[in-house]
Symmetry: D2
Subunit: 352 residues, 4 copies
């Protein structure tokens, strides 16, 4: 990706301001889908996680309200144009929209974040000057205190699921720090996807560097590679009784989770596969990269299909079913299990 | 690779015995090339590392004597048909030959070993029941106490460089244990290259397993992937002043070396690149996967070309030069630096 | 300590029940001292940490109300007779009273706890069958999921400061589990203070055991030893500019904190010593073992004297002053810094 | 200990030179006791460990020849006046003599060393400027690359057992580096035994320091404390079936061995105690601090008594017997087990 094509002269923040009345009306309509316009809250506001159980957000429901937000707010007015999924875990889940030609401004914060790309024809994130192209299914991480900004250089909207640890870090632990970058966007280094070149090849690491950070030096995990890995593995292994063939996105310098507070996973359920039920201290947010089926969470059936998002509250029994007789189902998930493991509070239990 | 094709009915150990006179004559001819027939030594014999300096073994010199050994000894008579390169480091370097249709019998030992494949059209190693195909430039590891056997199912000889820690483990530390497998060869599981499927994808690990061993769960590092990684990285990075763009083969569950006593590296020298000189407590054995150039080791110039092997004794200053104006040079190397690092004895120094 | 003397026939839980009216009146009087009767709250209730700043609890104020609680509730009715200090950190601080002849029943929970003994002539805690005598200034730990009960075999009340991580573990992380022991008290092994015998000698560990738990195997840190260590060190070192000569109570098998969520410290301020001001992400609760002086916390002066307790909220600048021209001051403190360190969220900053 | 008393004006290296003939005769007499005058060997000479089995050196035999060495060599002529015990392990064992008023010059080397004091009324070692008093039974360490010198400020000879890893580090690993100090002795800081004050109290560590070295910050482990710990533990525990109540001298900041290549232990055998036989990859050198009994090593009975030294070669079955019906026996030992553990080569086996 060369500089001229990726950063057109026209790339900029956008400016839109609407009336308070319009905004209130909009937020009211979002309630039907258990969403809220996070950008409309007071700055720094951290809502208490509501006392809600398992839930699913269907793509057919959430996409249109999200696209409408582009008419209500600009990325000059707010740093992120996001709709928050209202759910009771300690992990934030937002849908973010970046419109063609638009920049979402550079900043950094102590909250760790990840992006699971849903729609993108050529958007990218810049993390610490490294330009990371975003394709559907890709995982992009922006760990604690790394500079990051987003841009969309194509003609189609870019949408992704944001995962963060806001309720934990900003809420429970009172450790929120946030800082704006001096400019709207970082100037990325000329070569793109350098973290992937350096740290993305299985079993090989640059020998001249000592990675000293607590998070993974790899910021971009392309879906094409993860899918190939899952398919290859599913051909030869059965995996976990509770999750089937499931892989963790890891820090290649330690084998640990991508970030100290959030772990990410991808898994494939074979046609008609039904997993055994179990539960654990951590909660999880799932995103269906491809497939259709359902999960039973503490007795509630959550039907899901491609691009749906659903949540499994902490300590809830859950099992997954791929309803298709012929197609595999691919799930992405992120959890706070590293927090419980680090503090020796993690427990896991099979359903009786 | 399915069972029937990979393990033809005809696959077996071979049997050849020649006269003592012939053997002595053969070993005499090897001296000119600083080699010895390790299989002709008394069982369990660990030669003292000779007090020798830097040296190079050219492929044009060593290939023919190695092939002749097939007429002198069978793999029924000795577990491994190997010529040892006589050099003064604490790391063993052997050239191993497995003839078409031949098995090198299954065993395990406390010495750690690796194989850098030089010629192979379809040989394989089985490590702990996992069948690992071997292509030129591939790295295959057989760590401490893992069962392993080799076979060649094609019509052409298979040759590789064996790297081991015999002088350290069997010699200095007196910790040699060795055991024969009840049969000539392990029966591999039906699916091949499973370690690569499970642990070979960058940044992804099977989430249902806890790898509890001190060595890498990945036993096969294909050259095609390593070369692509080096080329990709060389396009965007300059790497180390002493080694250029160099990557370590690592344990993906820890980011550490492939085995507790041996580290492996691959590197690319750009056309005309000359590195700065440095030295370190550890020694290194290099193998030229592709390219031509020379290294200066404590003042001695070692010219090398594709398939040559050369050694850099511990604490020797060394620098590398790619002599080609247009082609990259690819070097593989293995060292005992993990030993010195684990025992807090490692030091490194740039040449003045 | 032999069984017969330590566990007299008369040792038992006590039973007292008073009217709701009396209870309400009592709780009302506690408000003046920023305390609450934690035992009178609904079972499992975890109050939100109030939004309060630095504060001090003087022994002259809190002792009498605490002693009165013995007339209001028995240890048959509630597992612990505790007054909670109302403060805004994520660490619980309670004053606990065990009357002569009384047992506080055995249980275990996922919340980690510690006891800093204030008054005791012969009370003890049993942790995992190990009987730990409690003398003033001693630190006793009862880590996550260890069985523990308390008893008082003397004629005088026993009082200590309880430190816990309830707001974090039961509140923020939703990881509370609690279990009652089948009997009122564990039957301790005959030998007392075994953890101290095994793990309490500097630089020596039992060689036949592999301690596999995430917390310290040492449950009892006698004040006599800690004081001697502080005095010895103060004679030869100046320590930290922010804390003077300060030592961490550590896990001797790892050098880390006593428990994964709570760290404990003791420090000595020399006569007239004034430390420099700094702040950090973690909060701290201090207890004055001996001495008088004051601390300035975010501009608020907290005067303290022997047996006072005070709190420093997270990210508050604080400095300590020993007001005595001739006597050292000894402070104990416990903090949640291990949480922030484990999650890579810890920061520290000197005052400008 | 103040400067004036500990470092009298008369403290200095001594100078003695005798004829080559006398020296040869002396070395000849040492052979009867399996000793050699290590100081008479060429500088830097590392003898191959001889192929010898278990052996014992009785104090009644070795003391007199050692004292004679003071008439044969001065500490101006050689850095250390030591008799080497000739044994086949990879660990050096020397008896060192420092005469009244004498200095053994300051130097440092990559070999790790320890001292088990046998006779001393007031000798000391200075390690990195810290003056460490030496009393009988004390363990003093001088880790890899730490400056150290010895002195004897009393009227009686000082003698100790030196343990080193010379055959491993200088021999097998070729990693010897050695450096003389610019002066005969370091000028110690005024306060003595500071490492003990800082790191010697059980479960307490200075909170303002981050110990970043791979060895223990504690350089002095007094016998009085170790003996009390063993006696206390022996009253309540049975310990290991193979070793009885045995404690490891540890690094209080990690719980690991005192140095990366050498582990140290002390143990008490109760009257008439006989341990079960076992063996392990590592070798051990034992010193009898107090007591009498015997050990059976691969079928050879080694009788020992107070101040004897004996060796157990690697992988030899061994068991210990305290022959006294009434007195405990105290053994000190040092081993190379950390080397085998770090390199994943350690194995242990009970006798059938």
């Amino acid at each position: 990706m060369n500089e001229s094509s990726s950063r057109p002269a026209s790339l900029a923040t956008s400016s839109v301001v609407v009336s308070e009345t319009e905004l209130i009306a909009y937020r009211e309509t979002l309630k039907a889908y258990r969403m809220d316009a996070a950008w409309a809250r007071p700055p720094g506001f951290v809502p208490e996680p509501p006392d809600e159980g398992p839930a699913v957000w269907h793509w057919r429901d959430v996409r249109e309200p999200l696209l409408r937000s582009a008419n209500l707010i600009g990325t000059r007015e707010v740093e992120r144009r996001i709709l928050s999924l209202v759910q009771g875990t300690k992990l934030t889940s937002n849908l973010q929209l970046v419109m063609p030609g638009e920049i979402a401004r550079a900043h950094r914060h102590t909250m760790a974040a990840l992006r699971m790309i849903i729609e993108s024809e050529g958007a990218y994130t810049v993390v610490e000057s490294d330009l990371l192209p975003m394709a559907p299914g890709d995982l992009v991480t922006t760990p604690n205190w790394t500079w990051h900004d987003h841009a969309n250089v194509t003609g189609a909207p870019a949408i992704w699921l944001d995962g963060l640890d806001v309720p934990l870090v900003a809420g429970a632990l009172g450790a929120r720090l946030q800082e704006g970058y001096p400019e709207d966007a970082q100037r990325p280094r000329e070569d793109a996807d350098v973290s992937l070149l350096k740290y993305g090849t299985g079993g090989l690491l640059p020998a001249w560097e000592n990675w000293g950070q607590p998070y993974s030096p790899l910021f971009h995990y392309p879906w094409a590679r993860a899918k190939a890995a899952l398919d290859g593995l599913a051909a030869v292994e059965t995996g976990s009784p509770f999750d089937g063939v499931i892989m963790q996105y890891t820090n290649p310098t330690s084998g640990g989770p991508v970030m100290p507070t959030i772990a990410c996973y991808c898994q494939v359920l074979k046609p008609r596969q039904r997993t055994r039920s179990h539960r654990h201290t951590s909660a999880a947010i799932y995103h269906v990269i491809e497939g259709e089926g359902y999960s039973v969470v503490d007795g509630t059936r959550l039907d899901w299909e491609t691009k749906a998002t659903f949540c499994v509250p902490q300590s809830s029994f859950h099992e997954h079913v791929n309803a298709s007789p012929s197609q595999p189902a691919y799930l992405f998930s992120y959890t706070d299990d590293p927090v419980y493991r680090s503090l020796a509070l993690y427990r896991e239990e099979a359903a009786p």
